[in-house]
Symmetry: C2
Subunit: 231 residues, 2 copies
Amino acid sequence: MTVLRRSTHRAPSRQLEAAGSITRARILAAATEVFVRRGIEAGTIREITKAAGVNVAAVNYHFGSREALLRATLAEVAGPMNAARLQALDQEARAHAPHAPPLPAIVDALVRPLIETPRWQDGTRPLIRLIQQLRALPHQMANQLMAEQFDAVAHRFIAALHAALPHLSRAEIVWRYEFARGAVVHVLVDCDPESGRLAALSGGACRTGDQDELLCQATRFVAAGFSAPGR
Amino acid sequence: MTVLRRSTHRAPSRQLEAAGSITRARILAAATEVFVRRGIEAGTIREITKAAGVNVAAVNYHFGSREALLRATLAEVAGPMNAARLQALDQEARAHAPHAPPLPAIVDALVRPLIETPRWQDGTRPLIRLIQQLRALPHQMANQLMAEQFDAVAHRFIAALHAALPHLSRAEIVWRYEFARGAVVHVLVDCDPESGRLAALSGGACRTGDQDELLCQATRFVAAGFSAPGR
DNA sequence: GTCTATAACACGATAGAC
DNA sequence: GTCTATCGTGTTATAGAC
């Protein structure tokens, strides 16, 4: 709840975002844990500060509000993954210059960093859980947070895909880009120990903990989808 | 929030689930509206009863608890869609007997009812929004609600797909079944007016309100993914 | 069956001492 | 920078009148 609650927060009067504080770092780590395990809406400032071993008032002192803390949490988790994607795409572009990178290289640059995003000991990928939750929340704020983190990368990849598949219209590229993202994120959620859906449906036949298997299955499905005939 | 809140509900002592009540029906309709627009966690009993024009206490009288109301809401929205899927699959099975239905027929039976699920005037598909939210909630209850509604259908379709694609292992069928579901649900969320992400990414080039276009794009991507070479 | 009123509790944010 | 205490507001669920 209460992401939506009419905030009574007026104007953050102290120095916010001073990234040096040890307390700040502890809050950020605890917030990731709580938002993932308990849910973005259900996780409370009180839980977070308790898990971080700091005072209840510290969140508002260091971040200004619960929403600003959520934004910082997402940036910390999604930033490195998107940077890895862009770096991989750039590398492929250099390797194939002056030609455009071929489809399999682009798909790998898009999918691999998502699958190889850090996992906790139990196999949970915190980034995946945050993405899934933010996409489901019917708040404009959630859409905005996602756009802040992912739009730049999306446009880069759509351009690269358009160059690799020039026979498809831009609209068809975008359709398939989102089909591809959905397929991979959905299955990563299913692979999460919290869900276990893929293991349940397959009677344990899908090795959901095997990253190589997952990457192999995902790239094959996605590349085939992109390679479907156009209109 | 408070789906998780430790409930103090003891034992529903009056007749629950007596489906005849007019009040009950009004609550159910209002609950769908509120859970979709405001979110499953954020939507409160007070909002629902206010929208339904009934008393606050009526939810606990007719359903027993907030969670039971959510279960009834999902069943009402997801039930007809899954029935349509099974009916379509049965029809294809009869049409192709004694052979197994071919891949395109199965994909159509799987995807079309999801896309043609009822929409509100603004284009929102309530079922899609409920699915997306339930998949994101980190509660065991949410997983259970999804399994109750979708597991039977999943097993039917996986069996049909296995018959149509006998060169693939059962594990590979399940991987691709979930890739397919994820691709379609993800894009349907993007087509929702609340999100608008597909329209934004494509600069308006994707006609997200055109059901025929959506079905065409989805079945092409999904069928190609299933047709990818096996291991 | 439907209402009002309330119990019992949780929340985010902040004032103000240290 | 960190604490305690508190304000104002929200929640589910239920007791008891009608």
